[in-house]
């Protein structure tokens, strides 16, 4: 396990050193830059946590962006329109995410449908659900009244809290939430029995099945966990944008997959880890940040990111 870690760490260090060189008149040397980078990648990082679990089983989850969208819409709806207490709204959103993920897992394991297809279907379905729930509108603090006029309601406290920075303005709450979810994933993968089964299924599903591993249950759990992390990401996203956008999370699945792969988790399954994904998240985060503080346009940023993904994966491949 050391060698992929060293490789992923190497990639991160290279990017970091580039940042030190092109530091945009010292902007890269300020903690605020790093804090903002961490804030910006946290939502993607949450999706990447679930994606890592799924990819280690040898699967893929294309529905993460859409589930994020549903969660963002529901959270805004529950908090702003229904005025539910924040903890009930959070629990309800988490349950919705969990259910969507579990549904994907059920379709994949029970009916033996390829993860790519099943989660593609969930991606489309969940986006539709998000639009239906929101009536196609962004759910914001401008609430339409019975007479057709808009009235601005105050932003719910929970939005403001999640969107705030703590520890004397040094770290964002969303980053803390991301790190907690990262830790939860790490415990699941390294310390708990289902985690071992996740690796075994990705490494050799048939051998695992013949060793009595409850393959179907573990797969459902894995996709459900991914759905849960998506829901958390949706809550964070809604809080940051102060609204629930039914389009939220569009194409985020691709960024999440890129982060996992750059970390060095193999798409074949069976190999990889959550700490590798953290390195992948930071690598992409820093890359984007360095390019943006140096005022590189979005066009060049996207092209460079594409090239970096290929380079990083080639670097991982050299071993075999």
């Amino acid at each position: 396990m050391t060698s992929p870690t060293i490789r992923a760490l190497g990639a991160l260090i290279i990017v970091f050193v580039i940042g030190l060189i092109f530091n945009a008149d010292g902007a890269f040397l300020k903690w605020g830059t790093h804090r903002d980078m961490l804030r910006a990648v946290s939502v993607y990082g949450l999706l990447a946590c679930g994606m890592t679990l799924v990819i280690i089983t040898g699967g893929i989850d294309l529905s993460v962006g859409s589930i994020l969208g549903i969660s963002a819409v529901s959270f805004s709806l529950f908090c702003i329109h229904f005025s539910w207490p924040f903890y009930i709204a959070i629990i309800a959103c988490l349950l919705i995410g969990l259910a969507c993920g579990a549904a994907s897992g059920l379709i994949i394991s029970r009916f033996n449908i390829q993860p790519f297809i099943a989660t593609l279907a969930m991606m489309v379905f969940a986006r539709g659900l998000a639009k239906w729930m929101s009536g196609g509108q962004k759910i914001s603090t401008a609430v339409q009244q019975a007479d057709g006029t808009y009235k601005y309601v105050p932003v719910p406290d929970v939005f403001n809290f999640i969107n705030s920075k703590i520890l004397w303005n040094n770290i964002s709450v969303v980053t803390i939430i991301f790190l907690i979810c990262l830790l939860v994933s790490a415990v699941l993968l390294i310390k708990l029995r289902p985690g071992r089964y996740i690796y075994a299924i990705g490494g050799n599903e048939e051998a695992a099945r013949l060793s009595g591993v409850p393959v179907n249950a573990v797969k459902i759990l894995t996709y459900a966990m991914s759905g849960l992390f998506c829901a958390v990401a949706g809550i964070c996203q809604a809080s940051q944008e102060l609204q629930g956008d039914p389009e939220a999370g569009f194409t985020y699945e691709l960024s999440a997959i890129a982060m996992v792969v750059i970390g060095g988790t193999s798409l074949r399954g069976g190999r990889g880890g959550i700490w590798l994904t953290l390195l992948g998240v930071l690598t992409i985060g820093y890359l984007e940040k360095i390019l943006s503080i140096n005022a590189v346009g979005e066009d060049k940023r996207l092209m460079l990111t594409g090239a970096i993904i290929v380079a990083a994966v080639l670097l991982q491949k050299t071993k075999k």
Binding site: L192, R193, G195, N204, A207, L210, S211, G212
Partner: protein, 499 residues
């Protein structure tokens, strides 16, 4: 082909083998599993290119670098498994890699017409524009044969072509073989069925353990002599089977039925019953396709509820369900292919060895690595597994040590019945001996063992009883004293033991 030798790593699988073919003859290549028949044919077909020896075709020495070279020289091989692409149509399959085209523009109508003609020659009146997977397996097999013969093959190798064919289809095939003989083709025919050998053979060449035994015309090689040639080795190896301590019936399997797989219309196992007692080793002998391996897999629950029949362990009767339920009931299955379904190659020795019994090493869901390490250490030490570290990935271990990891995994589940499917396959001599000793130890501890092995000396020396299967049915049962190589092989070839 003269003095052909071939090694896989340090293992020599063919040693100075000769084979000559005359035009217009059917030449049977006979031998037990692992005798080297398929390897020899893969050399002829250009699949294996690193061998020593010479191949001459019509007096000209050849040196095939690829399958294409061999095809161009007129060698065509019909493999046991179908190599058709189901989604393409019949004509596209026949012309695969040899498409008729002008400037990359396919001449479809020509290919369809040509295919139709070829198929008609075989008495197959089917539309070549239909996709291959719309046809039943028997027809697909005939299409495969038609494909092999479509382009002027001079030498045709058929590796068990009838295993998926029904009786009338076999007759049809034999008629085609007669036609091909008249056209001057040489046919190499590999089969495990005695009646086929004598209904079409002109000459027979026998291989045994990679060595050339002899060639004789079919008339001069009666059945008894053929079997003698196939098995006639000395039982020189030392096998350490001690006197068994036979106890009560541990496993009773009743009317086990495993339905057909998608590639073959015949049921894989048809209503087989047997029992094994504590401390006993029962061997289930059989050649390829006999269904012995499928029988063990069926009992273990590999095919889930598709397997019909009931099983009793220590008198407790139940319906076959799933591998995890079977493990809880005290069954353990060592599969015949540890790489594809026995081990997770990317995981460490410890993690592989505890995989079947992980709940034993975790409280609620928390794993207890110290307990896992302790258990893995104990079991692997008792199996004399050699490894630098228990954290080593099993990928880096030798075959024998990998097999011991699989055994360690099953020992940790405290099985009552061990189903061992080729436990010594791909294992060096030293490790083999250790595995035999382990089997003795297990029977002493009261475990019942069901063994499958394709090595005849191992079979005869290690079993207390032998049950022989042929095409999914039991053809004979022998006690340890009754069994001889000849008796077992002739039952495995489908001859029923006179009652």
């Amino acid at each position: 082909m003269s003095r052909i030798s071939k090694s896989f790593g340090p293992v020599e699988v063919l040693a100075d083998v000769n084979l000559d073919l005359y035009p217009g003859e059917v030449h049977i290549l006979a031998g037990e599993n692992g005798a080297g028949k398929s390897t020899l044919m893969k050399i002829l077909g250009g699949v294996h290119t690193d061998y020593s020896g010479k191949i001459k075709i019509e007096g000209k020495e050849t040196d095939f670098k690829s399958v294409q070279d061999a095809t161009e020289a007129g060698v065509s091989i019909i493999h046991q498994e179908l190599s058709l692409i189901g989604s393409l149509n019949v004509a596209e399959n026949i012309f695969l890699g040899k498409e008729k085209s002008s400037y990359q523009w396919l001449d479809k109508s020509h290919m369809v017409e040509y295919s139709k003609g070829i198929l008609k020659n075989f008495g197959l009146d089917i539309d070549p524009k239909r996709a291959v997977d719309e046809f039943p397996i028997g027809i697909q097999q005939m299409i495969e044969i038609a494909k092999a013969l479509a382009f002027n093959a001079k030498i045709i190798v058929m590796d068990e072509p009838t295993s998926a064919l029904t009786e009338p289809e076999v007759k049809k095939l034999f008629k085609i073989i007669d036609q091909l003989k008249e056209q001057g083709c040489s046919i190499v025919y590999i089969t495990h069925k005695m009646e086929e050998i004598y209904s079409i053979a002109d000459r027979i060449t026998v291989l045994r353990d990679g060595e050339y035994i002899g060639t004789e015309t079919a008339g001069n090689l009666p059945c008894e002599k053929l079997i003698q040639w196939m098995v006639g080795r000395e039982l020189s190896q030392q096998f350490p089977r001690h006197t068994p301590h036979i106890g009560n019936v541990r496993l009773q399997a009743n009317n086990i039925f495993v339905p057909a797989a998608s590639t073959n219309p015949a049921p894989r196992v048809g209503n087989v019953s047997f029992s094994v007692k504590a401390g006993e080793i029962l061997s289930i002998a059989g050649l390829q396709g006999s269904g012995n391996s499928e029988l063990l897999n069926g009992i273990f629950g590999t095919y889930g509820k598709d397997t019909k029949g009931s099983v009793e362990i220590d008198g407790e009767k139940y319906k076959i369900d799933s591998p995890s339920k079977s493990i809880q009931r005290g069954l353990a299955l060592l599969t015949n292919d540890r790489k594809s379904n026995g081990l997770v190659m990317d995981l460490s020795i410890i993690k592989n060895s505890t995989l079947a019994c992980l709940p034993c090493y975790s409280r609620c869901f928390w794993l207890r690595p110290a307990d896992e390490r302790k258990a893995a250490k104990e079991t692997t030490e008792s199996l004399k597994l050699k490894a630098e570290s228990l954290n080593q990935e099993v990928d880096s271990l030798s075959g024998g040590n990998q097999q011991k990891v699989v055994m360690a995994k099953w020992m940790q589940t405290n099985p009552k019945v061990l189903l061992l499917d080729e436990p010594t396959r791909g294992v060096d001599i030293g490790a083999k001996h250790e595995i035999y000793e382990l089997m003795n130890q297990w029977t002493k501890d009261g475990i019942a063992i069901v063994l499958i092995t394709s090595e005849m000396p191992e079979l005869l020396a290690m079993s207390d009883r032998i049950m022989v299967m042929h095409r999914g049915k039991v053809t004979a049962q022998f006690s340890r004293e009754e069994a001889t190589q000849e008796k077992v092989l002739s039952a495995a070839l489908g001859k029923r033991k006179p009652a």
